[in-house]
Assembly symmetry: C2
Homo-oligomer: 331 residues x 2
């Protein structure tokens, strides 16, 4: 098959997005800014308390795949939906963006995953995810041809939550490396890091993962330090290439002695931070798989992240390829 | 039961919204700016050609009910969804907005209705509606207590498309009038008017309907005239209260010799016209059922319409009650 730029592997989730006030999070014991895992009963309860919402395909690695395709890159996605209406929406949206997506949907329950995302007036999103069909993703869903054809296989740390997805990742990493490809991951969320710290460190130190994306909170959580500098140093030692995002303070790229820092783009209005990290990774990996400089890669990440936080929903409504051209980052 | 301001009756539809270029409409034979009725096969075909989308509860009269509730009014809604995920989303969103909604969902096929809405760069929306479960709305879905309790029963002309909804409307109108209440309708769409011209005229001339909402194209279609003035004159003669909306040119209220014209509100950016007429009706009827002046009613309509066209989706994300207060139209 034709070479692909990036294969993304993650939980296939439809987002249900509504605004709320700060006190709603407190009253409902939702950890602000985090991905809160919930079961079916709590999903029902929170939905009953949620205001009118809109729905949009989401999921961290799926958003990254969509972002890469929007830049004009060749992306594929592995993730598990169910044979239901939300699954059909997910399938439609990612394919309509031009992403290769062939994972067999789950017959029967549980249903397609959904995340209730509450956006507070400051633009911060707090996610409440019912994993549904995602818990069935396993090694049988790895299409070895796609892995072998992809310059980078990228996965989300969130995949350590469902039971067998990590097997799919380990298999994929083996196939990727056997074909001279690279493997990348995002640490996903500080609490996710807390749940799987030792395994994530082992992925990096064993060479299973080559490239790591983390925001500053995740990086500091990984090494249990309050020093960003110490966390970046440790990441740099533990993997071939580390990228640490810092929100409005830009991002840092660390590659075995080489450091690049870029700033965030100026934004008119912060609407909804959902997808910021996912789209940063999309921009960076799009640049990376097109042999751009580290600075260009980071600036492409800043661009995509900066655009997605100025709209509601986790995937950019406009063309990132055009945005890159318009800002002088195109090729 | 407690008195309600407005009962809205309409097709319960989930919107699937994506942007497209002008030539997409031409290539797919979609009538621009109109509501195109489609069958299940064409729905599949168009969806396969549609870009990544977002989903939001819609439906004309449902949007009006949500708008009235957002203003702080007491609204109810009759409409038919199916027992499926889209139906659950519809049910959630309208109830979460504070609208009374008890219509029994349909067991088994067809599924909940959806409308694929293509928004062109000029902000105009072109709708492609698969009616699904809406075709099962009938007189058995009329809750006489709610009709009797509602100051105004408002329905959409689109209800003449499904087979038995008109029976539900005629029953509701009888109940409303027997209880000293008023009945209102929107003409919905110029092509809808073309399909049911004689029946719509009969509804007005027989006194089944007291208050008519139309945009200028619908009004001129009703009387098959290219003169807006002639259409408004004819509407004024045919019903007790007529309101004609004119997009950026504001609106005209005609009540047996009394004429009021108001302007549209200034908008920063026209994003998506979906819901403009529905929200105008919401603002007007909220004022009307609170005994506001004709001018206030029309200005409340302009406010709600002006806000909804500056966002994606058919229902305002913010509180219309607060918007009315902020613009000096609150009470």
């Amino acid at each position: 098959m034709d070479e692909l730029d990036v294969l993304c592997v993650g939980n296939a989730i439809v987002d249900i997005i509504a605004r709320c006030e700060e006190n709603f999070l407190v009253e409902n014991a939702i950890t602000k800014g985090a991905m809160n895992l919930i079961d079916a009963d709590r999903a029902e309860l929170l939905y009953s308390r949620m205001g009118p919402a809109i729905e949009a395909s989401g999921g961290s690695a799926g958003n990254t795949a969509a972002g890469i395709a929007s830049f004009g890159g060749k992306a594929a996605f592995f993730g598990k939906v169910a044979h239901d209406q939300l699954g059909k929406i997910y399938d439609h949206d990612i394919k309509a963006q031009g992403v290769v997506f062939n994972t067999r949907p789950l017959d029967g329950p549980p249903p397609t995953a959904r995340s209730m995302i509450f956006v507070t007036p400051d633009g911060e999103r707090s996610m409440n995810t019912y994993l549904g069909a995602c818990v069935e993703l396993g090694p049988e869903d790895v299409d070895a041809q796609i892995v072998a054809a992809s310059k980078v296989t990228y996965f989300e740390g969130y995949l350590w939550d469902p039971p067998r997805a990590k097997e799919a990742i380990r298999n994929s990493a083996n196939i990727a490396h056997a074909n001279g490809r690279e493997v990348s991951m995002t640490l996903s969320d500080p609490f996710c890091v807390d749940r799987y710290r030792d395994e994530f460190l082992d992925l990096m130190r064993s060479g299973t993962v080559d490239i790591v994306f983390a925001n500053e909170h995740e990086a500091m959580s990984l090494y249990q330090t309050s020093s960003l500098e110490a966390a970046v140093d440790a990441l740099e030692a533990d993997c071939r290439l580390a990228i640490v995002t810092r929100g409005e303070n830009g991002s840092i790229v660390a590659r075995k002695g080489e450091r690049v820092s870029v700033s965030a783009i100026d934004i008119a209005e912060l609407v909804d931070t959902t997808g910021a990290g996912d789209l940063y990774a999309a921009g960076f990996l799009h640049g990376y798989t097109n042999n751009r400089s580290m600075e260009d890669c980071a600036n492409l990440g800043s661009l995509a992240a900066g655009l997605v936080i100025q709209q509601i929903g986790p995937r950019p409504h406009g063309s990132l390829r055009q945005a890159a051209i318009d800002t002088g980052l195109g090729t």
